[in-house]
Amino acid sequence: MLAELQNITKYYEQPGSGTRNIVLNKVSLTIGEKESVAIVGPSGSGKSTLLNILGTLDRPSAGKAFVGGTEVETLDDRRLADIRNQFIGFVFQLHHLLPQLTLIENILLPAIPVRDKSLRKITIERAHHLIERVGLSRQINQLPIQLSVGECQRAAVVRALVNQPRLLLADEPTGSLDAHNAGQLSQLLGDLNREQDLAVVVVTHSMDLASRMGKIYQLTSGELHLMSPL
């Protein structure tokens, strides 16, 4: 079991009124090894919140979250950072590549907190392999501004995978792409799920992307329902 959410509730206090806005209501979810999951739902349904709790970027108001078998609540910030660095990879709607760094530097950004030199060496090799895999070998020393949006997003995927995480979380990864690039990225995520021994959770509006995942969950009014496969 890579990650598990047990009866997760997340609410925000309404400023001034004292009432609560419940975003997630006793949601439970289990992500197994190499599993691929898509979470769909209308805007504001709490998809990203769910993903962030899964990725330890956010904490639930109630319920328990486990990552790699460890309860997140018990971990301090430093340990959580380690988990995000080593265990989880993130892809966002925007690529968030740092404009001051070249493509390879951006991709190797997650390697900075890694102290083990041999591991760093392996990471570099893996980075080159992944870059080649996603077809960005020629752009390796280019700055983000010199790349297309699709290339940037592919680089962001490589960055997410460079530390060989076991869980890839993608929040609307195709949201900012045109149909062609979105299709390419959807294909890539599916392929990586298979090739890289990787569990993938995507939050998306795109049914094309969702259809490439093994399971699809619908999040409506804070409640999660497993949809039958398309």
């Binding site: 805007s43 504001g44 990203s48 962030n52 990725g55 970027l57 956010d58 910030d77 430093r78 950072a81 380690d82 988990i83 995000r84 660095n85 080593q86 989880i88 993130f90 966002f92 709607q93 925007l94 968030h96 740092l98 404009p99 001051q100 760094l101 070249t102 390879i104 530097e105 190797l108 950004l109 997650p110 390697a111 900075i112 907190p113 760093r120 990471t123 570099i124 020393n141 700055l143 983000p144 501004i145 960055r159 530390n163 929040d171 609307e172 949201g175 900012s176």
Partner: protein, 1101 residues
Amino acid sequence: MTWPRLIFRNLLYHRRQYLAVLAGVLISTMVLTGALTVGDSVRFSLQRVTEMRLGKIRYALQTNDRFFSEDLANTMSRRSNMPVAPVLQSGGIAVNSDRNQRINHVEVNGIDGRFCKLWDQELPAPGADEAIVSSNVAEKLNLKVGDDLLLRIQNLGKAPSTAPFVSEKLPSVSIRVKVSAIANDLQMGRFSLKNNQAAPCNVFISLKQLASVLHLAGYANMLLVAGDAGAGTHTEMPDSILKACWKPADAGLSFGHPVFGGVAAGKYEITTDRIFFDEKTANAVKAAIPGCEAIFTYLVNSISYKEKSTPYSFVTAANEPFLKQTLGNRELMINDWLAQDLGARPGDSLMLRYFLMGPLRSLREDSTRFMVKSVFGAGTGLSDPGLMPDFPGMSEAGNCRDWETGAPVNLKKIRDKDELYWKNFRGTPKAFISMEAGKQIWGNRFGNYTAFRFNALETDLPAVEKSLMQRLAPAQFGLFFRPVYVEGQLAAKKSTDFGELFLSLSFFLLISALLLTAMLFSLLARKRMAETGLLSAIGFRKHRILGILAGEAFVVAFAGAFAGAFAGILYNYLLILGLNTIWQGAVNASLLVIKINPATLFAGAASGVITSVIVLLFILWKNLRNPLSMLVKSKSIMPGAGSGKVNTIFNDVIAFFSTGASMTLIAWMLLRGRGPDSMLSLVAGGLLLPGGWSLLNLFLIRSSVNPGSLIPGIGQLTIKNLALYRSRTISAVALLSLGIFTIIITGANRKTFYGLETTRDSGTGGFLLWGESSLPVMNDLNTALGASAFGLNDEPVLKTVRYHQLARLDGDDASCLNLNQVSRPGMLGVPASLFNRLDAFSFTALDPSADPSHPWKALSACLAPDVIPGFADQTVITYGLQKSVGDTLLYVDESGKNLKIKLIGALDNSVFQGNIVVSDSLLRVFYPSMGGSRIMLIEAPANRQDSIIQRLESLFKDYGMMVTPASARLASFNTVENTYLSVFMLLGGLGVMIGTIGLGIVLLRNITQRTRELALYVALGFPREFVFKLILKEHLVILLSGLVLGLIAATPVLLITPVHAVPWMLISGILMVVLINGFLWIYFSAKKILSENPLTGLREE
């Protein structure tokens, strides 16, 4: 929804950011208003000092060494219905012998009840042996009412002390008085006719007592006319009343029968208590009394014929009809006593030997040969002892041996028959020469006549007096009024503009506050770019959007400026507090009071609104100049943007040229070995700044394109991040380094000495000491006579010492120690030829008429009959007089005529500061009565400086002599400038601190723009400490780069500045405060950012 409502809602919603902008506007307006209000406060304080100095006095007449009847005050008062008070003023030394404390320069004022009535808070007039002292005198001498006070008062006399045969008086007379009252500032304590804010040391004693001890009973030398608040503009009124009231005695003229009326029966005689009639008065007498007989009697040392000689005789020069015969230019008539004594007969040639008197009572014996034309007997009418003028010290002498002639008398030469002649005939002239010959050989600057005689029987004496007085102008005897109150108010009004000064001193603070405002508003404007785009998308035109934002900006600017104007009162309070205490050196007083002028507050607020609105509109324009469609899109930043080839080359050129030029200058200075050059050091340091900024820019450009390590470390990331926001980084570093450089340079630029103050071209002229006495020294100390008079020859330590005594005409102090604008500064007569020979002092500017290689030569030539050239210190010309080289100053000479001083040169920071420097010889032409010297430049070996000072002060103790190293005198003038520099440093330091707040703002702005980047770090598993360290490092690099670059640039100047002259504590203190302040801003800003939820940066909704 309406526009105002939208603006109101926007202001409400962005209230925190707008409050920060408002704070920036508030600070800048506060600085502006506060500085302007300081100007008002200083002006008001100086005007208040004028009120305190003068009480109800509106006009004043001051004659110094001429005296008029004190009754003139009563006559004028009766005629004008205005209170008029006579004062007899002299300089002096005040001693509290119980405590052995003394003040070397006090004004001793002889007053009576009339003077006391001129003050709002009236004190009873001092009685006999009583004194009222000003509170500062009481404080300095630890005096209280009832204490004894010893006064040593300068001895004054009606006859000019340097006129021929006027006996040398004791320099001072002493009296012991009891303190009857202590006069505070609102009573008469500050009484002074000089436009100066520094409190004078005043002692008031009874007019009768002072006149009595000075043998001037019934006389005064100052008239004060009171008036109401509106009076005091025109002097015509008191001058015309004076003209109507004055009498011959007020001009020092006496009408009477000759002393031995029996001999000169039927004659009237006019004499002057100054012994010699000046040319103008003599002409008036001749015009008023046609046919009057002019007489010029002189003392000759000897009349010789062959081996025989008659010592010490009076000889009179006159013409027909007095002589009843005509004498040729080299002919003389002798009386039968002399003819018998010498065995001379008509046709014999006699030699007359006589003294001629130069400056400082210096004597030169001259001689002329005359041929005896006739011998006259006792019955001819010429044997008249009344022809001898009333020489003080001679007329009353019982025998020749008791004569006090003011010239050496060889007693051995006086024979018994001479004593007998004196006993029988007193000063009856033994010989007569023609008036032309007399003028030719004895003519002197005081005049060429000693009496005028006219027929009493045929003359209506009152009519003659009237006629004469009509022909004389009171001004020619120094009797003219000055509108002292109006002059004082004007001098205060036109005083050093502290508003302007403090505006300049607060410049860096002001700029920092405006930059802070700009940064804060820019932050807000950028934050609202999307909102702006939205407004555009829903159909708002660009000018409408601009209108909304500008409306908000106006509201904030108005509110900030309004609050800032009132905060300016607090700023003004702090500055005035500083000027009255720690910065007292700048104002030479501690009397400044706060004056809040609503108009100035309004002007400050208006300036605050205008400057803030300009800044805010500029920021809006900058942010809205792009097409609106762009505003809704997030822009990608290109690292190395603005680093195109041309820009890079330009940057390289600046980097290498500035640094190279700086290094070359430093190397050149070191190699030429001519000592430190502050200007070159400043330039060398200043060049390092743009060089440093360009090098940093270059480094960042290179770093941005340099791939570096594949996995960047925190250091590499820091540099890359700084390079990404390069312009922001360089701006922040530039602001900080410039501020630090300015503070250090200001500190190091405090006026000091480099050990070169003894060179001829320095401000001391190479003279070691400056001596200043309270009482005038009458003798030339370089002569044997002068030296022996003070026992200088008996002191081995003074053997090689040379004294250059300077004549001084009293006037207002025009040095930077006086805040008032001065129109008539004191004049110093200097030995121009000596200075020319020594090539002494340096000049910053010269009139084209002066030879730059020999500027002192130009000082000796009269430019026109009533125009003489003058020099003054550059600071005196520019600030004290508010004039420039080539301008003219107007004085009134001793005879009441206008005298113009044309400023033909500006001296570079000299010991003469505060005075106009003119040629000694020319000064004495226009002020012949100027006697003695109170100031001297002393040349002496430097290694004996302390012992020389000690001995001189001891020998001249009764003269109140203060001897100081000339360099120390220069340093005292530097105090003012140094205080200004300290103020500038402190306010500059505040500015840099605000600059560091700006750095914090830059940090917040950077972080606001980089929330996604920071959130990404968190998402990628970077520990928060890493992100914190990254932010901290980036901004510490900016802070430290600014500090270090500022320090490096200041190093060349620091290296040449003597260690003791640099205010290290102040500089270190400011640097530490800047460093700590900057660090805290960075630390807490970074902490705050990281405490917020980083996920917001990753969200797109």
